[in-house]
Every structure is written in structure tokens, then in C-alpha cells.
């Protein structure tokens, strides 16, 4: 749990945690051009190359697929957000770690029998001891990582960024927030305790 919590912060480019834990909801978001579907066909990634873009779209669409109730990652062209975040918000050193990780992702993705096998292997919880080992590894700075662990270090860092940006871009997307979550920009009265049945889905903001 720890390694991913820590990386939640890293993937969002935040070095420190919130002050008033319970008071200020820590909402992040990304803007996607989902309103103009045709843009998707002409859009060219800036940081990613075409192959990486297509691979990550497949991975993140398996992560957040289209369901009966809501669109999937691919439907919203959210790969654009990931490309933009890494391109514009990451500093050079973090971009280099991400790129090195992306090469590992491509190797493992290519070596997997299919997308499902890749997801099953890399997007599910591992045994406790293995999780603890990864926590420790990811706590290190790049220069502290042993040569033998470097590939795995890069891979895990990149996968955490991909997960983090994937989820935040999806749930902060305008369509998802306003049409699928509970969107109430000006709540007016605050009600501290009420039946969840009167609300339904999570609040968007």
C-alpha cells in the first residue's frame, strides 16, 4: 500500500502532503479534449511516440474499460492528458526515469501472451513480502538503486505514474465528473449526515 500511496504524490507532481487532511479535499484533474472526438485522429503525442501512445492506451483502457454505465479511458482520449502531464509537468530527471520505465513496460508488454496476461501480472496485488520489497525499492532515489534492480525500479515507477495519471485524468474529466459522478458545484446547505441512497454515486468535487 505504501509504495503506491507515496507514488500517488509523485505521479501528481506533489512533494508535500496536505495540511488539513480532513478539510480540503485533494482534487486533481486533467483537461482532455474529449468534446471534440475528431481531434483524436489528428492528435500527435508530444512526449510519447506513436507506439508508446498506442500501448499505454490499450493498458489504460483495460484498466478503466467501457462499461454499461460509463465510458472507458479510450473513449475519452485521455492518453492526451498523460502525454501532456509527463511532457509539461515532469522535470527532466523524472521524464528520464519515466522513459526508461516505459522501455521496460514495452518489453514486458511484448513478452506477455496478451493484454489480459499483462494486466493480471502487473496490475494486481502481489504477496505481502513482495509488496514490502517493492515499497523499499521505490523509497530509494535512483542513485541508491543497485544495478541489478534498476530495470525493475524504472518499470515500477512508470507503472505507478501510469496508474496515477490514468485514474486522476479519468475521474477529473468533465464528462465523468458532471454526468457520471455526483456533480454539485454550489451545494448551498451542508448536510453532515444523510442516507447514501439519497445521493447515489460519489461527489465529483
Amino acid at each position: 500500500m505504501k509504495r503506491r500511496t507515496a507514488l500517488k504524490n509523485l505521479s501528481l507532481g506533489i512533494g508535500y502532503t496536505m495540511t488539513y487532511a480532513g478539510m480540503a479535499a485533494f482534487v486533481t484533474s486533467c483537461k482532455a479534449d474529449n468534446t471534440i472526438k475528431e481531434v483524436a485522429t489528428s492528435w500527435k503525442p508530444s512526449f510519447l511516440d506513436e507506439a508508446q501512445s498506442s500501448m499505454l492506451t490499450d493498458i489504460l483502457d483495460a484498466f478503466l474499460p467501457t462499461t454499461k454505465s460509463s465510458p472507458g479511458f479510450k473513449d475519452l482520449n485521455l492518453i492526451q492528458v498523460l502525454d501532456n502531464v509527463v511532457n509539461k509537468l515532469y522535470k527532466k530527471e523524472d521524464q528520464e526515469i519515466f522513459s526508461a520505465g516505459l522501455a521496460e513496460v514495452a518489453t514486458k508488454f511484448g513478452a506477455s501472451k496478451d493484454l489480459k496476461t499483462f494486466m493480471e501480472t502487473h496490475m494486481t496485488k502481489k504477496p505481502k513480502a513482495e509488496e514490502a520489497r517493492l515499497d523499499k525499492l521505490l523509497d530509494l532515489k535512483k542513485e541508491e538503486v543497485a544495478e541489478a534492480d534498476l530495470k525493475e525500479y524504472h518499470f515500477q515507477k512508470a507503472m505507478n505514474s501510469i496508474r496515477g495519471i490514468g485514474i486522476s485524468s479519468y475521474f477529473s474529466n468533465e464528462t465523468i465528473a458532471t454526468e457520471h459522478l455526483n456533480y454539485d458545484p454550489i451545494p448551498g446547505k451542508y448536510i453532515g449526515c444523510m442516507p447514501v441512497s439519497e445521493v447515489g454515486n460519489s461527489w465529483a468535487l
Binding site: M1, R4, L7, K8, S11, G13, I14, G15, Y16, T17, M18, T19, Y20, A21, G22, M23, A24, A25, T28, S29, C30, K31, A62, F63, P65, T67, S69, S70, N84, V85, L89, Y90, K91, M123, K125, K126, R163, S168, F171, N173, E174, A177, H180, P185, P187, G188, K189, Y190, G192, C193, M194, P195, V196, S197, E198, V199, N201, S202, W203, L205
Partner: protein, 573 residues
């Protein structure tokens, strides 16, 4: 607002330096009492409502997902970013760039100087938690033999707390506690279901520990008493500026009141560089400023001066105001100017999972949390005594997790995704805010280095000591103890990196006292030896208590302004 222009006079009845929480109050009180008042602000003008450009933006309206690039953060905000929240594009314009306003820290130490240079100052972005001090806070130094005694007691400020609370509008509950006096409150904000549970459990389980709702400067009822200000809409976007004027800021509240008198002239972009002292009259004659944009200098004259430039700002101005009589800074006969820097230390507490209440939720984004008032070292309660002196309170909240839990939970696919649309399990967390003692060696100095306006850079020398470190251990342990006693699961303590100043409650560097040999200000916030200069921001504090301090600054400011005008009328100033 009546802004200063080329036709404005150079001479006034009063000058107020600074437009933040305390400067706004000084402006309002002096103008309402009929004084022609020049109000100086070093930052840009901010017009209430019209300049809150991000107030209605949703996450997807903000560029780059509402985040700044790492390189920009490192270059422009290396210190402001230490809070973790000030540098988000929705409100980063209400904080300074460290690259434009640098400062120094003694090697191996840290001071987090978080600043907002604009009309309204940090009253635009403050945490809004508003608590009275109690008798035990004013008596503490004398009883413990720490530093010097306060020259005032609770009875001296009680009626001024009433006065400012009635104007500010503070939502909260009266609880009849000795360590946290009752006040004049508007309707309290609701607890969430889990918070109500914890309040009930604490009432039955603990002798001194109780939980109340945060007392916060928001209008939650009786809006008719507050003029143009409206009721809180529970959007929790306060730091962007509130288009409803629902929370108290200088911009929404005190400056409009000052403006309404016709007595205020506001001058933004005016960096006060010096308070001018006249040896013959033993009074200050006025204030020199430098225009932050044109770098032109001006000298304004007035009968009384209120210095409300924030703790470090006011102290720097006094230090820069050197004369033959005061070679070490205005009013600094004691040598205490710049010393005794305090704050509230925090970033230590606990969090837990709460089972049950899956059928309960809430509506709205409450800009507030719960508060557990101090329960350690309460006079007359031996069982609350610990191996440190003074105490701390907790601020926290219980809410349901949202989709962000999906980052930490491994999983993927349809069910994983669809589950994230539903409210998650309940979580509770709280953070302690503890008292820091006044240590002579925790100090700020002016260096030989200069900023873009030729003014000396500030250097800080501040560290936590033994009493604070022991208190932090207890802040962690007691938080765990409270959650475990309540039967919450997976209770985990936390302690995060903290530097003095991070609480943004820096105070104490021009303290009040009875004796001019050991303090800068007297019991009326008046410089002992320069009677027409008043300092009523955080720098005046003799000890820090553990409550959020702004309400006390407001009460002391209103009290000092009332005194100043009476003295002026009597011909004493």
C-alpha cells in the same frame, strides 16, 4: 476603494501599514472613529469578487489539470511549496514567488515563510479557524517562569473578542470549557455521522478530552447582520477568494467598512521601508515607502501609525527604522526585536479506518473540520500533567474516500472501475497543533544582502527544542489512543516534516510586556518609548498558546485602535 492618486494628500491622521487580518481591522476602527487614514499595502490591489478569477473554475477548467510544472515549482516556489497546497494554480497568485522575494535560513535549520503580498494579505487565504485564548494562556509564562509575563489577562480582551466576533461572523458551538472560552457564534456546521459517533464516545470515555466542531469565520446563519456578505455555500474553494463574501477577509469585510466611512485612502504597491522618528518630540512622524513598480519613494506623515505588516514584515520595518536614538531598530531598547519567534508545530497525528456507516453520506464540501481542544497540563487537573509544559489541540475530519482510493488499491477492469464511482469506506484523521515556547535564540535578522528594492534580506535561525519534541511524541500517542478507544481500525500514527513557520502562525518578534527592558510593546501594543506607534499583528505575542491566533490579533487590534484614538483625543499622542 478610494485609491491613492497624485491629488491625494501626503499627510493623514493615521497610517496603517498592511491590509491583512490585523491591518484591515486597524483601518476599519480608525476610519470609523473619524480619522483620515492612509492604508499601505506592499502588494497589488485585489478587488473583492471581481479579482477572484478562479473562483468558479472546475478542475477541468484549470490548465494542466490544476498543477504547476515541477521546474517552475523548483525555480519560483521552493519555499512556498513546502506547505503542499499553496502552489496550486487555482490560488498560487495569492502567494509570493520565492524567486522574487528570497530569504535566508541558517545552515542546518529551516523557516517556512509563507507570504501573500496583495490587498487583503493572507486574510484572503487563511485557514479561518477562530479560537479565543483563555486565562490560562495569558498566565502561562508567569506560572511556568518562561520568558516574560503577558501585560494583559483574559478580562482585558474578553469584550474585544465579543466585539470582533460579532462583526466577523464565526460559526461554532459553545462548550463551556475553561481552556477554550465560549464566544458569540453563528450556527455550527454539521458533524459527519462518524464525527458525531466520536463526539459521543469521547464524552463517555474521557474526563478532559472532548470533540467540538471547528469554530470558523464563515457566515452560516443570520446573514442580514452582515451587510453585503452572504451565507457560506459549502464549495470549499475559499482560498481562491469567495464571491459570496461568506468567509471573513479584509477584502470582504473590514476594508469595505473602512471605505464606507469616506476616511480611507488605500495605496497598493507601497512597500513601507521605514518609520520616521523625530528625536525632539520622541514620536514617529510618518512612514517612508517605495513604490514596488516605479521604485519612486514617498514620505507620508501622520499622528499615529499602526504597523500591521505581518510578524516578519513589521519586525523588518522596525529593524530598518534606525536613528541616533534607536541604532538597533525603532523601539528596540530591549534587544528583543526579532527574537522569540514562535509558530504552532503540527504535521503529527493519526488516521484510521472506520467500519460501518456504509448507508450514510453527506452533501456539500464543508470548509471546516472537528476540533479537540487542549487536554494536557490543564491547571487544577493533575491527571492531565505530562513531561512537557503547555499543550496542543487536534484538527481533523471524518469522511468517505472517493475515487482516489483507486490509486492505492491494486486492481483493474470493469468491477474495479465501477466500484470507484461509489463512495468508499469511512476514514478519519487528525493533526495536532502544539504550542512552541518563546526562545530568545529562535530569531530573525537582517542581512547585508539586498532584494530588488534595495531592502535587506531576512535571515532566520529557528529550531524546535526539547519541550516541543516531547509534546510531538504525545501528540502522536494520544491521537492513536483516542482512535483505538473509539474502536476504529488500522489506526496509524503519522509524523511529517515540519519547519517553524509552516503553521503560518509565525509570531512573537516584537513582544508585549510590562518592562521596556525586556519587551518592545506595552499592554496597549504601543512601542514603550515611541507612543504613537502601535504594532498589533502576530509580532506582538508574548507566548503562542496552541489555538489559531488570528482572532486574538483582531481583538488586540480593535482594542489598541480604540485606545489610540482616545489618547489622541486627550492630546497624549
Amino acid at each position: 476603494m478610494a485609491l491613492f492618486n497624485e491629488k491625494s494628500p501626503l499627510e493623514y491622521d493615521a497610517i496603517v501599514i498592511g491590509t491583512g487580518i490585523s491591518g484591515g481591522w486597524a483601518a476599519k476602527e480608525l476610519c470609523e472613529k473619524g480619522l483620515k487614514t492612509l492604508v499601505l499595502e506592499r502588494g497589488r490591489n485585489v478587488t473583492h469578487i471581481a479579482d477572484y478569477k478562479t473562483a468558479a473554475m472546475d478542475p477541468w477548467d484549470l490548465e494542466n489539470g490544476g498543477r504547476l510544472a515541477e521546474e517552475e515549482l523548483e525555480k519560483d516556489y521552493p519555499k512556498q511549496r513546502r506547505t503542499g497546497y499553496t502552489t496550486r494554480p487555482e490560488w498560487v497568485h495569492n502567494f509570493v514567488k520565492d524567486s522574487e522575494h528570497p530569504y535566508e535560513e541558517e545552515e542546518g535549520t529551516r523557516f517556512d515563510w509563507i507570504r501573500g503580498y496583495q490587498v487583503g494579505g493572507r486574510s484572503l487565504v487563511w485557514g479561518r479557524q477562530s479560537y479565543r485564548w483563555s486565562e490560562m494562556d495569558f498566565e502561562a509564562n508567569a506560572k511556568d517562569g518562561v520568558a516574560i509575563d503577558w501585560p494583559i489577562r483574559y478580562k482585558d480582551v474578553a469584550s474585544w473578542y465579543d466585539y470582533v466576533e460579532s462583526f466577523v461572523g464565526i460559526s461554532g458551538m459553545n462548550e463551556g470549557l475553561k481552556q477554550l472560552p465560549d464566544g458569540k457564534f453563528l450556527a455550527p456546521m454539521d458533524f459527519t455521522c462518524v464525527e458525531t459517533d466520536l463526539r459521543k464516545q469521547m464524552k463517555s470515555k474521557w474526563k478532559h478530552r472532548m470533540l467540538t466542531i471547528g469554530r470558523t469565520a464563515h457566515i452560516t446563519s443570520e446573514p442580514e447582520k452582515f451587510g453585503k456578505r452572504g451565507e457560506c455555500q459549502h464549495r470549499n474553494r475559499c482560498m481562491r477568494g469567495c464571491p459570496y463574501g461568506a468567509y471573513f477577509s479584509s477584502n470582504s469585510s473590514t476594508l469595505p467598512a473602512a471605505e464606507a466611512t469616506g476616511n480611507m485612502t488605500l495605496r497598493p504597491d507601497a512597500i513601507a521601508t521605514e518609520i520616521v522618528y523625530d528625536e525632539k518630540t520622541q514620536r514617529a512622524t510618518g512612514v517612508r515607502i517605495i513604490d514596488s513598480k516605479t521604485k519612486e519613494t514617498f514620505e507620508f506623515k501622520a499622528k499615529i501609525i499602526f504597523c500591521n505588516a505581518s510578524t516578519v514584515g513589521s519586525t523588518s520595518i522596525l529593524m530598518q527604522s534606525k536613528s541616533k536614538r534607536f541604532p538597533n531598530g525603532l523601539g528596540n531598547d530591549s534587544g528583543e526585536l526579532g527574537h522569540n519567534m514562535m509558530d504552532h508545530h503540527f504535521q503529527v497525528g493519526a488516521s484510521a479506518d472506520v467500519d460501518g456507516y456504509e448507508d450514510k453520506y453527506y452533501k456539500g464540501r464543508r470548509p471546516n473540520g472537528f476540533y479537540i481542544p487542549r487536554f494536557r497540563n490543564l491547571p487544577g487537573h493533575k491527571d492531565s500533567k505530562k513531561d512537557f509544559i503547555r499543550g496542543y489541540g487536534y484538527q481533523g475530519g471524518a469522511s468517505r474516500e472517493n475515487w482516489q482510493r483507486g490509486v492505492a488499491e491494486m486492481g483493474y477492469g470493469q468491477k474495479f472501475k465501477d466500484d470507484l464511482f461509489k463512495p468508499g469506506p469511512w476514514r478519519i484523521g487528525m493533526n495536532g497543533f502544539g504550542e512552541i515556547l518563546p526562545y530568545h535564540d529562535n530569531k530573525m535578522e537582517l542581512t547585508d544582502q539586498k532584494d530588488d528594492w534595495g531592502l535587506p534580506l531576512v535571515k532566520f535561525y529557528t529550531t524546535l527544542r526539547d519541550n516541543e519534541m516531547k509534546m510531538r511524541e504525545d501528540m502522536k500517542d494520544a491521537a492513536v489512543e483516542i482512535f483505538e478507544a473509539a474502536g476504529y481500525k488500522n489506526v496509524k500514527p503519522f509524523e511529517r516534516s515540519y519547519g517553524i513557520g509552516l503553521g503560518i502562525h509565525e509570531m512573537g518578534t516584537a513582544r508585549m510586556g510590562k518592562d521596556p527592558k525586556t519587551s518592545v510593546l506595552n499592554k496597549w501594543n504601543q512601542i514603550h518609548t515611541v507612543k504613537n506607534v502601535f504594532v498589533t499583528d502576530g509580532s506582538c505575542m508574548t507566548s503562542a498558546a496552541c489555538q489559531n491566533p488570528s482572532l486574538t490579533y483582531m481583538a488586540l487590534t480593535a482594542r489598541a485602535a480604540n485606545f489610540a484614538v482616545e489618547e489622541l483625543k486627550k492630546g497624549n499622542l
